[in-house]
Symmetry: C2
């Protein structure tokens, strides 16, 4: 048997900020070393942040990544952390091309390097655009134990590096990850990691990134699973966290080198012999994954908060209509940034109901956000009178005057504007381009309307406080762009609409499948036409946090110019 104390450093890296991320890694390595860890693992591309997108192709950035890594190895050693083996993932580049890589830093040097093998090229991922796959496996003997490594997607595919490590013989596998959050993904992770641990016949140390990066939020949820599938520890979601775990492993794995399947295995020894026995620390209690709505709320808060902070903003401004969408956005902003950083604006027109204004006021009082009223009637009249706008044109100009007002306040006072649209209206095009679609970030862009209601009820019940006025939750939704307008004038009931959209947008189901699912042909025709016709609006929409399997953004890339009609 051999002991080893491992540390999982679930950190929040910032894309592009090599120096900042290196300092972060330095700080958390020191903490791991102070806790007596022999090995610390950071998430995938923690040094560069993830995803760097086309920065991966820029030679100057890859060079800087390599140089920062080498400097970091020296800095860790000079800081007294040279004895801990630090698994730091970064951007490498060789004759073949850019590499999604992990290096092990020890005593001032890089002692092992490996390149990601399986490169995901679906959904939000374009890794085949960026990286060349690796075919080598570098195994290190650390205190008498053979430690292998893989990176993220390497775990999600059958066969591949994990299987080869199992055949070659390892006592432990570490895996840096940058796995973006989606609802229910955490339910999938544990069985997946367990399967791979069994395949490797060794515990698997899964360390995931945490934090927001444009459309994506990474949920952490790092874990260690034994070869028998047992959960040894689990980190919380959506927060940075250092998990320190003492392992006692059988050791003595067979040590095949050379060619194993399509891989080349090489081994290097840091310390041949096991540690002298020591008193292990009790294992930390595994964190419980958050219940569903709490999890979604936490994802949205982190996605919004990190976008604001990482882009150097100190405040946000948004329109408060008294409706549920803007109320939820305001509540998220308060939870992410504090009420003092949130500026809410009621923008009543001649069609705004009294409750529109009073519900907005109510939210402001409940939450303590900054609040002002900017009536748009005069602005609207100036346009409609001069240009002779009627009907839809008159409705839209109201939304646009609101947009111009919010941008004016943003330009004048430095706030980031939040667009408050939800996924359902973005799907069917029930929003005004350059109107309510205005903003630098859209916190609930990927939240279907029915889930917006659920989240509002949950947030009020969960506390602290009940930020969302009850009336905002219960009243029939309305854009209030003409007298007595309600959403149900133009749209199917949201409960029904969201079910159709779930099948069409997330499920990518065709016409026949939708009919087979029981939806009426006229409903399917209407909804699909609306969704397809709204592609141009989505193309110009601000970014917002992905929480579903298929968000509007890089998940779903459809042409604007498109003659395809389902069911034709």
């Amino acid at each position: 048997m051999a002991q080893l104390r491992i540390a999982l450093a679930q950190v929040n890296a910032t894309v592009g900020d090599l120096d900042g991320n290196a300092a972060l890694i330095g700080e958390w390595t020191r903490r791991a070393a102070a806790a007596g860890a022999h090995l610390v693992v950071f998430p995938e591309m923690a040094l560069t942040g993830y995803p760097v997108e086309d920065l991966a192709l820029r030679e100057s950035f890859a060079e800087a990544s390599k140089q920062t890594l080498a400097r970091l190895a020296v800095q860790l050693d000079e800081a007294g952390c040279g004895d801990i083996a630090s698994y730091v993932s970064y951007l490498d580049r060789d004759d073949v091309g850019p590499r999604d890589a992990v290096a092990v830093l020890h005593r001032g040097k890089v002692v092992a390097t490996q390149f990601k093998h399986h490169l995901p090229n679906y959904g939000v991922f374009d890794e085949r655009r960026y990286f060349k796959p690796g075919q080598t496996l570098d195994i290190l003997r650390i205190h008498g134990l053979e430690v292998g490594m893989v990176i993220c997607e390497d775990i999600w595919q059958e066969g591949g590096p994990i299987s080869a490590l199992g055949q070659a013989g390892v006592d432990l596998v570490v895996a840096p990850n940058a796995s973006p959050y989606e609802r229910d993904k955490d339910d999938v992770r544990l069985p997946l990691v367990a399967r791979r641990a069994a395949e490797a016949d060794a515990p698997l140390v899964y360390v995931n990134l945490v934090g927001g990066q444009d459309d994506l939020v990474f949920d952490g949820d790092s874990m260690v699973v034994g070869a028998d599938g047992g959960l040894l520890t689990r980190a919380p979601q959506f927060v940075e966290h250092l998990a320190v775990l003492d392992l006692e492993l059988p050791g003595g794995a067979a040590r095949t080198d050379g060619t194993v399947g399509e891989f080349t295995v090489s081994r290097r020894t840091l310390h041949a012999e096991p540690l002298a026995p020591y008193e292990p620390t009790p294992p930390p209690a595994p964190a419980e994954p958050l219940p569903e709505l709490a999890e979604v709320w936490a994802a949205l808060v982190l996605g919004l908060g990190d976008y604001v902070r990482k882009n150097g903003f100190r405040s946000v401004v948004l329109g408060l209509s008294g409706g549920i969408d803007s109320a939820v956005c305001a509540a998220l902003a308060v939870d992410a940034l504090g009420a003092d950083a949130v500026h809410c604006v009621s923008l009543p027109s001649v069609y705004s109901s009294e409750h529109s204004r009073s519900d907005a006021q109510d939210l402001a009082e409940r939450t303590g956000v900054h609040f002002q009223v900017q009536p748009i009637a005069d602005m609207v009249t100036t346009f409609t009178a001069q240009l002779g706008l009627t009907g839809i044109a008159e409705e839209n100009v109201q939304a646009r005057c609101r947009g111009v007002t919010l941008m004016g306040l943003s330009n004048q006072h430095g706030h980031l504007v939040l667009a408050t649209g939800n996924k359902t209206e973005l799907a069917v095009g029930y929003s005004t381009i350059y109107g309510d679609a205005v903003g630098g970030f859209a916190p609930i862009k990927d939240v279907p309307k029915t889930l917006v209601w659920e989240l509002a009820r949950w947030r009020n019940a969960a506390g602290p406080g009940a930020p969302i006025p009850e009336n905002s939750i219960t009243k029939p939704p309305s854009a209030e762009l003409r007298p007595d307008q309600v959403d149900s004038d133009s749209l199917p009931p949201y409960e029904l609409l969201d079910r159709v959209l779930d099948d069409y947008v997330e499920g990518d189901r065709g016409y026949t499948d939708l009919l087979a699912a029981g939806f009426a042909p006229e409903l399917v025709d209407k909804v699909l036409r609306m969704v397809d016709a709204a592609e141009y609006k989505r193309r110009q929409y601000p970014p917002g946090t992905k929480i579903t399997f298929k968000a509007f953004g890089r998940d779903r890339r459809l042409p604007i110019t498109n003659g395809w009609r389902e069911g034709k």
Copy 2:
């Protein structure tokens, strides 16, 4: 020796419009048959249009593509075109996944099928997201000649299918393509096709798509090159065209089947024996590629015109500032759609010069477009007075009032709004989001400022007419958002700025390379900061025609949240 009359059907397909494209293919096959052709080749994915993006992953669309192909084969036969071998590229799907495919239709049936092998996954291409590569080569014996086929990228890569066909033995190779236009690409095509023809030891029939599809425009430029590298015919650019060519080929190529390299070759015979000798038609004169500026102008006209037409619009509206950008956009719109479809609006503010108004009026008179004046002063005052906007906020609200006005006219009258921004300002963020960035399409989005001037001078000189007022070309550019403002207050001289941008944006050069190129450090710092900080604006910008190597859009995917600073 054996003769064969081939036809290159350089057509303009519409993405998603299976029935429309099938009808198009039917019509052009009839024309080829009427011209006595024995074989006709259509561009890559002519049946579905290209690129279909995530539609490639939708099962219902792939099914419809396959069914439409089968129906088309029958329809061609029933229309009396069964004897001509029709090379029709489409979307297939099998157990492995979606396929970029080409089928040969003959006498009512599909007689050969092949899947694209090399799948580009760089620049604007994401084909590894969509397709699975093919490993088989189907060679048909047509009138005594062995005819092989490849698809697009198969030509751009060394080795692969062309090389295998050469080894296996073919008398002719046909290649459907969907190769997007870029300046200077036509200079590259001919040597490339010649190289591959030599590798195959057979003439190569290169048929390219023509037409606009969102950001991309396909330039046609189809050609036939002999095994000796000699150009046998060349189609014009940017127009649909049927090129009919009589070939006299040695025949008698060795006929290896089975495994050739990584491919499996199979052969099938339509007609074992050569045709009886006939009098060949004289070869058509090869089209001369357009001179550079004429070529760019034609690309922009087609890109704009097709976006408008294929999306069902009948008119466009744009702001006319009297400046060069909007003048060039107006001229493009007139050339694409006719003056009666173009609505120009002068939107003077209190800061607009007299020449701003008069130059706009001048252009309207030269071109015959619809013209109106909508002063924005009152709109602006309503916002600035109520919200207390000063400085940048006051400048931007003017641009936004213009945007709201154009959208109001669009909503009221059904015009598509054109955004008139150029590549240089989009690069450095010298545009107002939701202001002058407003529009459904941006015709000169990928045109650097210096090229805008060149194009304006060229267009006036080339005729017909001289649509652009001389003053618009010669006066110092200005956004006119504050008194006496000129672009050179905020930006380096455009000749210099465009050179830096060419290296940084298109060349992806880092800080060190830019200094080595001779640019001053302060200039490089300033320009790079501006470019990097403007990513969020570009993310919400309308689509526009790609003409350069790296356009803002799918060519250049950078994160908004980005801590990387060149030269730090």
